[in-house]
């Protein structure tokens, strides 16, 4: 195995609220290889965004805190400095080696600075360019992401751009410092389908043209995952339920949640009379079941599911499932 770019080990991020402790992320392990596109999929409240914000150390504290775990990026544990309250370490990495694209292109750009200023900012900060060099480089980046007449538009403000164009600016910003990891948190959720197709294509294209950054793509849309990712992490209630490569996830999912999720999707071109559903709803984070967090909705529940939390089981090389039904590789 090659060296992982990022290794997340037993990450726990809790939020202390008046109603109790919300275990938003409760023991998450995964890794990302250089150049890989890894998808994290899950419903709202499954902890997928909190995972990404924990990697970036952007969790608002209080109420949130990374209470346990290791985040090893290029061989260095980022959380070790976090615990010493030494935030300079992450500051040098954030926006430089690891950068992020947010969901809302309308709110994630600063309305009072020009597009050029915002793209150039990280270049001046991290790459030590002079403002003039940074500006020229920003024009180059904006051209790369397909903004027409970039040299003229660089002095415009975010409100003069459409949603798709703003997301392009975000991508230019995120990729300007040649990051080795790009975290994209629902990058196309706020966009229309035709623009979504443009942006996804652009992300992969620009990634190939620049530093071949690994991408951590967070989304709730299984179809987007199917089209872009190499491997998939399925999250539910703050825990990873299944990890496998994209074909395995879609064709032989092992976890009942993944199976239910895929069955409930309407598929273009295949009309069925009724959609199959997952009964019930996501339990509250304050009131999770004692055993498997999916046991309240699972159709294949066993007696032990309610009391014993299942462990991650490797059913095939690289295919991990958190379910009592899953059979480990060698016994199968």
């Amino acid at each position: 195995m090659a060296n992982e770019l990022l290794k997340v080990k037993n990450l726990k991020t809790y939020f202390k609220t008046e109603a109790g402790i919300a275990k938003a992320v409760d023991g998450v392990d995964f890794d990302i290889m250089p150049g890989e596109v890894l998808g994290i999929v899950g419903e709202s409240g499954s902890g997928k965004s909190v995972t990404s914000l924990s990697i970036m150390q952007l969790i608002p504290n209080p109420p949130g805190d990374i209470v346990e775990g290791n985040i090893i990026f290029e061989g260095k544990d980022l959380l070790e400095a976090y615990r010493r309250k030494d935030y300079d370490v992450i500051r040098k990495i954030r926006g430089n080696k690891i950068s992020m694209i947010f969901q809302e292109p309308m709110t994630s750009l600063n309305p009072v600075f020009t597009i050029g200023d915002q793209v150039a900012e990280s270049l001046v900060l991290h790459k030590g360019m002079t403002p003039k060099e940074a500006r020229d480089y920003a024009v180059k980046m904006l051209e790369l992401v397909g903004i027409p007449s970039a040299r003229e538009r660089i002095d415009e403000y975010p409100h003069q751009f459409s949603g798709g164009m703003r997301q392009r600016v975000m991508i230019a910003m995120a990729l300007s410092c040649d990051p080795s990891l790009l975290i994209a948190d629902e990058p196309t959720t706020a966009l229309d389908v035709t623009i979504q197709a443009q942006i996804l294509e652009l992300m992969l294209e620009v990634k190939a043209k620049t530093s071949n950054a690994a991408i951590l793509l967070i989304t709730h849309d299984m179809a987007v995952i199917a089209e872009t990712c190499h491997r998939v992490v399925v999250m539910y209630c703050g825990r990873i339920q299944e990890i496998a490569d994209v074909k395995t996830i879609f064709h032989s999912p092992q976890h009942p949640y993944t199976q239910g999720l895929l069955a409930s999707l309407p598929k273009p071109g295949q009309k069925v009379k009724r959609l199959s559903t997952i009964e019930g709803m996501v339990p509250s984070l304050f009131n999770l079941p004692k055993g498997c967090s999916f046991c309240t909705r699972c159709s294949q529940k066993l007696a032990q599911c309610e009391t014993v939390p299942p462990e991650m089981v490797e059913t095939a090389p690289g295919h991990l499932v958190r379910c009592h039904l899953a059979k480990p590789m060698n016994s199968a």
Binding site: Q198, H220, K247, S264, L265, P268, I278
Partner: protein, 351 residues
């Protein structure tokens, strides 16, 4: 999908236009119009589901709002085949009363017909009054449209409705914040059904919900349609969802319908260049499905304030010609019941 023939007309929309005026300059003079809907025509048959799809700003929601008279259209007709006879005190009559043109009614004149047309809104967090209990929310349309019912009868109907949408009657005394998104959407559906409507306009009813909950609500809507013989106008941007629930689909772009066909035909054989691009942009939830070359449209949707002349799509159209700029293309019947607003659709290469 269903065996019953859907032939009776319920609603006809004829050349519907909705312009929102824009005022500017020192004297706040009328400088332009946002042409949200610019000549929409379609016929809705009783018992069917018509899907309205399109990107944001194409006028699909405005069309829904015009039908329910939340927006007064600038021009055009919305002919509703009502069961209520105005000359007999809006009583429901077995013989067909004269159809009514909703576009010409004011609020007071519209009120009797509102019980026949109801709406389900997109955001279940914003469309329920947080200060009212669930039973008050569902009872409100009853007390307006069926004042002859006693309080006990209304409560009974509330319980019955809640059971129909998959909530338990004990939950009636709770407030909306005690419910999850999917449950709130069920409350919204129960409220819409309270007045025994015939037409339900659902404006993005599942886009705010999680995938696993989406399927539950879609199934519920289909069950209720079968049980009560409802007609739906289903407005959504998610093409896979629309294909699943709709009998016929109208594709909108910049205030016009560009293509209208039954769901299966539209997905198998899209004719309009915009529909084709839209179809090819849908990501498919199966990594093995290899797409034919994706048609990625260049640029963005033009502003509805500065619509291009002629065909609205010509600025992004791969097969645009010079004369596309002259006239708005008329709806052609390319095949029986398959309408397309593009005279040159046949010149595209067949995939």
């Amino acid at each position: 999908m269903t065996e019953k023939k859907k032939t009776e007309t319920l609603l006809e929309v004829v050349d519907l236009k909705m312009y929102f005026p824009v005022y500017g300059g020192v004297f706040r003079s009328h400088v332009a119009d946002v042409k949200a809907i610019d000549g929409v025509n379609f016929t809705l048959r009783e018992g069917e589901t018509l899907g309205l799809v399109g990107e944001s700003g194409c006028g699909k929601s405005t069309t829904g709002k015009c039908i329910i008279n939340l927006n007064r259209p600038t021009s055009g007709h919305i002919i509703f085949h009502t069961q209520k006879d105005a000359s007999r005190g809006y009583r429901i009559t077995p013989e067909k009363p004269v159809p009514v043109n909703l576009a010409k009614l004011n609020n007071d004149q519209m009120r009797p017909y509102r019980s026949e047309i109801q709406m389900i809104f997109q955001d279940p967090y914003a469309s329920l009054n947080p200060r009212m209990t669930v039973s008050d929310i569902i009872m409100e349309p009853l007390s307006i449209h069926m004042p002859e019912l006693s309080k006990a009868q209304m409560l009974e109907k509330v319980d019955w409705l809640m059971e129909k949408v998959g909530l338990s009657a004990e939950q009636a005394t709770r407030y909306p914040h005690e419910f999850s998104g999917g449950q709130r959407q069920r409350i919204g559906i129960a409220r819409a059904l309270a007045t025994n409507p015939r037409l339900v306009i659902a404006d993005e009813p599942v886009s705010a919900l999680d995938v696993s909950i989406q399927a539950q609500v879609i199934n519920l809507m289909q069950d209720l349609q079968e049980e009560f013989g409802l007609t739906y106008i289903f407005i959504a941007h998610d093409l896979a969802v629309v294909e699943h629930i709709s009998d016929r689909i109208a594709v909108m772009y910049l205030g016009n319908i560009v293509e209208l066909a039954d769901a299966e035909t539209l997905f198998k054989n899209p004719l309009h260049p915009y529909t084709r691009a839209l179809m090819s942009a849908i990501p498919h939830p199966d990594p093995n499905v290899k797409k034919d070359k994706r048609i990625v449209l260049q640029g963005d949707v033009p502003s509805p304030m500065k619509k291009p002349s002629g065909c609205g799509f010509r600025t992004r159209c791969p097969i645009a010609r010079n004369d596309c700029a002259i006239d708005v293309p008329p709806m052609l019947e390319a095949a029986p019941e398959h309408f397309v607003a593009c005279p040159y659709y046949a010149t595209q290469d067949k995939n």
